[in-house]
């Protein structure tokens, strides 16, 4: 993966730049020692590493504003960073750029049960929000598996999801307002505690913008009351087709479960060996269907789901009868990544989305690809919304295997697009999928997106080299080719 060529003239001014940044962020907030910067050299896409030029850890919005304004004026690239759990390399540093770490923005500013909102600084973890309101029975719905570590700022940048998205939405459906700083230092507030922000939906465009448009310095999210009851059904299927059919049948019955997760045979076996969740081992796929809500509703729907599963040809059905048992059903799914980590020295976690009906085809084609690339693959799948997480097993110490794994991954994602899906689900494009964007979008489509960037960061200094395969200057994107025209279609009706 080629990153933008470092600018030697910027690197040559490193000391001067560090001093200028120290004047803005005093004390320990500016890091230049290689040893100390080492922890920032990669995110959770560990195949890529790069030491930044300087790390800055501001504490206030004013400092962020001054840092960005300064960098904007002298043309220094900036990579925002939350907890560094991005799986797509979104927080990967640039050699001639600074890392703007938001770890010190870790305060909960306001909890408002009357409006059902929580306002926090962006470095607060996803779980930190839920923990702050759990004693009153509330929670923040999007729950990425990384929720202990990942920050809400990172969640906004990646539009993160979790197993409850089908019913409760992704980050974008749960954020009400933000404060952000643009590259020119402007502080902009979008939305608030009211339900819809005014004017253009810039909150919508910021969510999922992967740190390319602005630095988020405050976040207001909506919180929900915890469901009265949660129960799960663990269903085993003789084939992934029957599992897929069952998912469709549940939805056709008008049921939107709180969570609906599927695992294929390799994933089931890896998870079972690791956590002994009691998963059936003689099936090709399992489905965990979680129903949440008022007790009467959950009891009613559990029955419906059981009936549907039986009709679909399920070979085993277990309904959780206690909270402990429900947790055990989930333990295997939640440990799927580390479980796979145990059976393989390395793995790549892919993320793509397909129309659900294409699941059998995609799994079959993936099995062929697995043969061809000579690498194993295990699948966990947010079955409700078609979001696949194939885990490609490889050994980085074997020459060529990383490359083979990446090629395999690229083939899977291209297949997702081919069957009508998209390259990402909830992990973003980052550097990982950057060069695959051309398979989903035409140049015109991508230029239209990149022009948005020109409104926010015209010099392209915020997180460049991510998401888009080609960097265009805004002047170039802005150019228009105008032909003097005639009124089209002389026979077009006009009055």
């Amino acid at each position: 993966m080629k990153m933008p060529t470092p600018d030697a003239s910027v690197l040559a001014r490193r000391v001067e730049i560090a001093n200028a940044l120290r004047a803005i962020v005093p004390g320990e907030g500016v890091i230049v020692e290689q040893d100390e910067m080492r922890v920032y050299e990669t995110d959770a896409l560990t195949a890529y590493r790069q030491l930044p030029m300087i790390v800055v850890l501001p504490k206030t919005t004013e400092q962020v504003s001054q840092v960005l304004k300064y960098c904007n004026e002298i043309g220094i690239k900036v990579v925002p960073r939350g907890a560094g759990t991005s799986l797509s390399g979104g927080a990967l540093p640039l050699a001639d750029g600074i890392i703007l770490g938001l770890g010190k923005f870790n305060k909960i500013m306001d909890i408002d049960y009357g409006n059902r909102t929580v306002t926090v600084q962006p470095g607060v973890t996803n779980l930190g929000i839920t923990n702050a309101v759990a004693h009153e029975g509330f929670y923040y719905a999007p729950d990425p598996s990384s929720q202990i570590a990942c920050t809400i700022g990172g969640n906004i940048a990646e539009n993160s999801g979790g197993v409850h998205c089908l019913k409760y939405g992704l980050t974008t459906n749960n954020v009400l307002g933000i404060e952000m700083v643009l590259m020119n230092g402007d502080v902009v507030r979008l939305g608030g505690k009211h339900l819809d922000s005014d004017g253009y939906d810039l909150l919508g465009i910021m969510t999922g913008s992967e740190g390319l448009l602005g630095v988020v310095t405050e976040v207001t999210v909506r919180i929900l009351k915890k469901p009265e009851t949660l129960r799960a059904v663990l269903i085993g299927f003789p084939s992934s087709e029957t599992g897929g059919d069952c998912v469709a049948a549940i939805i056709a019955a008008g049921i939107i479960p709180g969570g609906m997760e599927m695992m294929d045979k390799p994933a089931i076996h890896a998870a079972e060996e690791f956590v002994h969740a009691g998963y059936p081992l003689d099936v090709e796929a399992i489905l965990i269907v979680e129903l949440d809500g008022p007790e009467a509703e959950v009891d009613h729907l559990i029955g419906e789901v059981e009936t549907i599963a039986r009709k679909c040809g399920a070979v085993s059905i277990r309904v959780s009868s206690s909270e402990d048992e429900r947790m055990v059903f989930w333990a295997g799914r939640k440990a799927a990544f580390p479980a796979v980590g145990r059976i393989s020295p390395d793995y790549l976690c892919m993320d793509g989305t397909i129309p659900r009906k294409e699941l059998p085809l995609v799994l079959n084609r993936m099995a062929e690809m697995s043969e061809r690339h000579g690498l194993r693959v295990a699948n966990v799948f947010h079955a409700g919304d078609g979001n696949l997480h194939p885990l490609i097993l490889y050994d980085a110490n074997k020459p060529g295997e990383l490359q083979a794994a990446e090629d395999f991954g690229a083939d899977i994602l291209k297949l997702c697009v081919e069957v009508g899906g998209v390259l990402t689900g909830e992990h973003g494009v980052g550097v990982e999928k950057r060069d695959l964007m051309i398979h989903q979008f035409t140049e015109t489509d991508m230029n239209q997106q990149q022009r948005v960037k020109c409104a926010f960061d015209p010099d392209g200094l915020l997180n460049p080299g991510k998401v888009f395969p080609q960097l265009h200057r805004c002047a170039e994107l802005g150019r228009m080719h105008i032909h003097r025209g005639q009124l089209p279609f002389p026979d077009l009706p006009r009055f």
């Binding site: 409006n115 339900l195 465009i205 009265e228 129309p355 494009v429 022009r451």
Partner: protein, 407 residues
């Protein structure tokens, strides 16, 4: 000379936009024109009437997705969804009658462009939350696509979000893809009568803070109860309404829970299916303010707990009437047409205290030309919005000035 261009398909629409760009002449984009008077009046000598871009592209109930040409009538799509016991969960309101037109005429593209949302907003979000992808023509005269057809649609920037609620000022939508959801098996409404506004907001907050999946919460003060036009409601007594949707046993159970929860607030009644549907349609379509078309109608989006305070503040300084949706977060306000500057200074001052915004929805052209129809934005945000417009529509071809002057 004013021209009314009526392309037959997306290719012709593209040509029309290219022509307008080359002539540097703005276009007014129109579907069925039901919301033409929504926004600032602006100068466009040419109308681009896309009403022929109509028809379903695909509908896959099992995938919860539907795609249609932009000017497909919403009613047509809703009828189709109904057959499959599905719906657009954001419950698009129909402002036709409110704005002096017919009901049932609006197009799906218009719904998306104005980011409409009905009472279910508190649970299901707005059009933006269900708008997955589109085909469109840019202000550079290029056809492009954005988003996708799967629920997790965001790869790169979420352009559909930007286009939703842009009132046709950023691009011409030619095809839209939306998420659909199962329709509820049943609906029942919990009613508490005779509450004052502040108590009603507290009651709605209690409901929304409960785990009983409230699908809407509205409060109609006494003076407006008759205007809802639902017999069971009568007139002259305030009604605070909590909507329950879902499977029979679940509704039964939750209704019981609310009866207990609200015990201290007065007697609890229920509206069954038919009157419930009529009630929520009236709340959604602003029926209490359809009569007296000379009155100015404002739509205020505020933190829900602020609702009563904001409305009382305004009513103490202007001849105004209000009712509340979204648990207090949406205030529909009708003011006397004679008030100074359409009441905007008073209204925006009241809203400004707690954050939120006010939009002038119904007013004569002259009033909308002089008042700020959309809430004025802070300087940095206004500048950013203007740059976004510049980036997407540099020649100001699409509905220029409809939202803000120069944008």
């Amino acid at each position: 000379m004013t021209t009314h261009l009526k392309p037959a398909d997306a290719a012709q629409a593209l040509e029309a936009v290219r022509w307008a760009i080359s002539e540097e002449t703005p276009l007014e984009l129109v579907g069925h024109g039901t919301k033409r008077t929504l926004g600032r009046p602006f100068q466009a000598t040419h109308t681009l009437d896309v009403s022929d871009l109509s028809g379903l592209k695909f509908y896959e109930p099992a995938e919860l997705v539907l795609s249609a040409q932009a000017a497909t009538p919403l009613a047509e799509l809703e009828a189709l969804l109904d057959e499959n016991r599905q719906q657009f969960a954001f419950e698009p309101p129909d402002f036709g009658p409110l704005l002096g037109g017919e009901a049932g005429k609006q197009t799906i593209g218009g719904v998306v462009s104005c980011n409409l949302a009905g009472p279910r907003r508190v649970k299901a979000g707005a059009a933006r939350d269900h708008f997955l992808g589109c085909k469109a023509v840019s202000g550079r005269g290029e056809a492009f696509k954005a988003g996708g057809r799967v629920v997790k649609n965001v790869t790169g920037y979420d352009l559909p979000k930007l286009l939703a609620g842009s009132y046709g000022t950023l691009a011409l939508l030619t095809e839209v893809t939306l998420k659909v959801l199962p329709a509820p098996e049943n609906t029942r409404t919990v009613l508490i009568r005779g509450l004052d506004d502040a108590t009603a907001i507290r009651v709605m907050a209690l409901a929304l803070q409960s785990p009983y999946e409230v699908a809407a919460a509205a409060h109609i003060p006494a003076a407006l109860a008759g205007g809802v036009g639902v017999e069971e409601l009568g007139s002259g007594v305030a009604a605070t309404a909590i909507r329950l949707e879902g499977f029979g046993p679940s509704i039964e159970y939750r209704a019981g829970k609310f009866r207990d929860l609200f015990r201290g607030f007065g007697s609890v009644e229920f509206l069954e299916l038919e009157p419930s549907l009529a009630f929520w349609a009236a709340v959604r379509d602003v029926k209490p303010f359809v009569a007296n078309p000379e009155r100015l109608v404002w739509r205020l989006s505020v933190p829900p707990a602020d609702g009563a305070r904001v409305a009382a503040d305004i009513a103490s300084r202007l001849p105004a009437e209000a009712y509340f949706d979204w648990g207090g977060g949406l205030i529909w306000l009708a003011v006397d047409p004679t008030v100074e500057r359409a009441g905007q200074d008073v209204i925006r001052e009241a809203v400004g205290l707690g954050g939120g915004h006010a939009t002038l929805i119904r007013a004569p052209d002259t009033v909308r030309a002089s008042a700020d129809v959309f809430h004025p934005q802070a300087a940095t945000l206004a500048a950013l919005s203007a740059r976004v417009k510049e980036s997407q529509d540099p020649k100001r071809i699409f509905n220029p000035g409809r939202m803000y002057a120069g944008v």
